[in-house]
């Protein structure tokens, strides 16, 4: 309530004529124009260029970047043409696999970071303990470590010559893309897998680790101020009214932090999908480990800039969707505050 009133009154003040300074009007116009120009040059123009380049060969060219057919079998055609089609089909297949990999890695990282972030924000926000400041600094560490170094840390830990090299290089786990439903007949575990992967770095697992490392501050950091401001009283009240720990979390804690959580998830998702440095090191440049940003670079280096931009447009699209969600979230929050729900972010 209060916030809204304050905002309105200050808006009114800004809108009104200021008789003391006659120049207020043109100052406002100049500042606004400068802002618009700045955003235009540094945000809108590059973004528009991404889409322009992505569609530079028309819609069919755009689609071709993701779905390209190999050479028809049994049809005679010049060697060079045939090889070009093989390349295009293989490129498109790898692009699709990079999208799937990004979704898998990003989602896994976000799920982990939500669990970790909520736990960390909870611990830091609600309890006092020795070494708390140190813990907060450690949570912030990925912000200050270069992502490439982050990737190298995992290579140094889990690489063949690393600290846990012996164990890690022989660590076998199922390829998530090969997991399928085999049912319960005869098994207690209903999932089977066709493929096993070995090792940690240079496999999707390494990519997940690298991504989690560089993204873990996002959820925790966006939750901490809210959780801290929240205090413990509402939760204690819920407990005293007979709610279980889970009920308290689900019905009291979560609704209070939902906007902050959503915001953190959004930041975390964008970064997880867009991470390059850390992932680049632990991917071992292997095509099967490509995420969207790695793939964009490879396409660019294969002189296929249209396909690179087409793929990049997906990330740009994600950014736009994030912007949209943020808009809706802000609007919803304002609405709740106006209604008196007090959705404090």
């Amino acid at each position: 309530m209060t916030t809204t009133t304050l905002a309105t009154s200050s808006n009114r003040r800004a809108d009104g004529e200021n008789p003391a300074t006659g120049s207020a009007r043109w100052v406002r116009i100049v500042l606004t124009l400068a802002t618009v120009a700045f955003i235009g040059i540094f945000v809108v123009l590059p973004l528009a260029n991404v889409f322009a380049q992505a569609f530079s060969h028309g819609v069919s060219g755009y689609v071709h970047a993701f779905f390209a057919d190999g050479p028809p079998r049994g049809v005679h055609m010049p060697v060079r043409e045939r090889l070009k089609m093989i390349t295009a089909a293989s490129q498109a297949r790898q692009t699709r696999s990079a999208i799937a990999m990004t979704l898998l890695v990003g989602t896994t990282a976000v799920v982990f970071n939500v669990v970790f972030g909520v736990a960390a924000a909870w611990a830091v926000g609600k309890f006092r303990f020795r070494g708390k400041t140190l813990l907060i600094s450690l949570i912030d560490l990925p912000f200050s470590v270069s992502p490439v170094v982050a990737g190298l840390i995992f290579v140094l830990l889990f690489g063949r010559e690393g600290v846990f090299g012996n164990w890690a290089t022989h660590f076998k786990w199922p390829d998530p893309f090969s997991i399928y439903w085999r049912g319960f007949n005869g098994h207690w575990w209903p999932f089977g897998d066709d493929q096993q992967l070995e090792g940690i770095v240079f496999t999707p697992l390494g990519i997940v680790l690298g991504t989690i490392f560089v993204t873990f501050p996002f959820v925790a950091r966006s939750l901490m101020p809210t959780v801290e401001a929240q205090g413990v009283e509402e939760e204690q009240a819920a407990l005293s009214l007979g709610a279980s720990g889970w009920q308290t979390f689900r019905r009291v804690t979560l609704p209070n932090i939902r906007w902050a959580l959503l915001y953190g998830i959004m930041l975390c998702t964008c970064r997880a999908f867009g991470e390059f440095g850390a992932v680049s090191v632990v991917s071992g440049n292997t095509d099967a480990n490509d995420t969207i940003p790695l793939r964009v670079e490879k396409l660019w280096q294969s002189y296929d800039s249209q396909a690179a931009f087409a793929l990049a447009s997906l990330l740009a699209g994600l950014a736009l969707i994030t912007l949209l969600i943020k808009g809706v979230v802000d609007w919803r929050r304002a609405a709740t505050v106006r209604a008196g729900g007090g959705g404090v972010l």
Binding site: R80, S90, T107, I179, Y180, R250, W300, Q301
Partner: protein, 366 residues
């Protein structure tokens, strides 16, 4: 609201596991080929060709995954645990490094024909259309207003070939036209003699050292890989001349049109022999030794040699090489064994920490 967040999370997880209800497919054979930077297109096409061949021979489906990067960096990744079944790198030293880590058994150079090197290449110049700076041979690279684009010899295999080519030219290394039987014989003879020698004056050659020092003063940025350097030159439009792989020069001129670039062949260059090898430790663990060996052997088949020629590498098969004479003209080449004895020696002298390259190269920015 919370319910919808939970729901979307669940939905996202479900969507990201697309093959969730797939029935068990037949066991697929997989190979990982760890290669150097410019061979992307070559292996993309070769892999398809080999997979078809393999299926026709065995009925099994084969998936080959590629990994490309600076040759030295790639070797490092294999040593660090990248599960490469085969390596197809830019130079023998990088394979030797993997051998030293105990992953490849010694003697790998004798497992396949031509020192396990199914194709060769050389170092040429790529200049902008019309050759505005008049670059025709190595000497022209150090003209005052020439900017040279080349990758970093510490990470890139191609860059090390660049370095050796420049050094060999400046040291007047004897070169031969290897497309003729006579030239080949002379070259082999020279290599055999070199193997017996203890000291190599070429490493102490003052004019070579001076020339190479000068040359790297003309390089504004060092990319980590050959492809990065090509992109810098061709796509970003930086520099007057790209010193690099013959195949990279051709690829750039194919991709961007003949009206943009010209390829300049210097009077003398180096014979680059990119080696291939099976990574013994990995194939034994994966049980892929047979398919990996077949894969590399197939590189010497006529079909593969054709793909190699199409991608502007020089096929070992003389008949197919002759077919591409227009694009891959004969020129005088010196070999690493004839001129520098072997890669181990060249690597230690030139590219090891505090080697010649570290002594002569200071980043221009500082």
């Amino acid at each position: 609201m919370t319910r919808s967040i939970l729901f979307s999370l669940v939905a996202a997880i479900a969507l990201s596991a697309p093959a969730f209800t797939r029935p068990a497919a037949a066991q697929q054979t997989k190979l990982l080929n760890v290669s150097y930077d410019p061979t992307r297109e070559l292996y993309e096409q070769f892999n398809q060709s080999f997979a078809d061949y393999y299926k026709s021979q065995t009925g099994k489906t084969l998936t080959v995954t590629q990994s490309h990067g600076g040759s030295g960096k790639q070797a490092r990744a294999v040593i660090d645990g990248l599960q490469a079944d085969v390596v197809t790198l830019a130079l023998a030293w990088d394979v030797t490094a993997i051998e030293d880590a105990g992953l490849i058994s010694p003697g790998w150079q004798d497992h396949f024909p031509d020192h396990s090197s199914p194709y060769t290449s050389t170092i040429v110049f790529l200049v902008r259309k019309g050759n505005p700076k008049g670059i025709h041979d190595w000497a022209d690279l150090i003209k005052p207003d020439v900017q040279v684009i080349a990758p970093n010899p510490k990470t890139s295999g191609g860059a090390r070939w660049n370095f050796l080519a420049a050094w060999g030219w400046a040291a007047n290394a004897p070169a031969f036209d290897l497309s003729t039987a006579e030239g080949k014989q002379k070259s082999d003879q020279q290599a055999a003699e070199a193997a017996k020698q203890k000291t190599f004056s070429v490493y102490e050659n003052d004019s070579a050292r001076k020339f190479v020092t000068q040359l790297y003063k003309h390089v504004p940025v060092l990319d980590t890989g050959a492809r990065g350097a090509t992109v810098t030159f061709a796509q970003k439009g930086i520099g007057d001349v790209l010193v690099g792989w013959e195949n990279e020069a051709w690829l750039a001129s194919d991709e961007f049109g003949k009206d943009k670039f010209e390829i300049v062949y210097p009077g003398v260059s180096v014979l680059a022999e990119p080696p291939v090898a099976v990574v013994d430790k990995v194939v034994d663990a994966h049980g892929t030794r047979d398919v990996a060996t077949a894969y590399l052997k197939y590189l010497y088949s006529p079909e593969a040699q054709e793909i190699i020629g199409q991608n502007h590498y020089r096929p070992r098969d003389t008949k197919i090489l002759a077919k591409y004479r227009q694009e891959l003209p004969p020129l005088k080449l010196f070999t690493i064994n004839g001129t520098f004895q072997d890669w181990t020696r060249a690597q230690k002298t030139f590219f090891a920490n505090n080697g010649v390259f570290d002594q002569i190269y200071q980043p221009t920015a500082k």
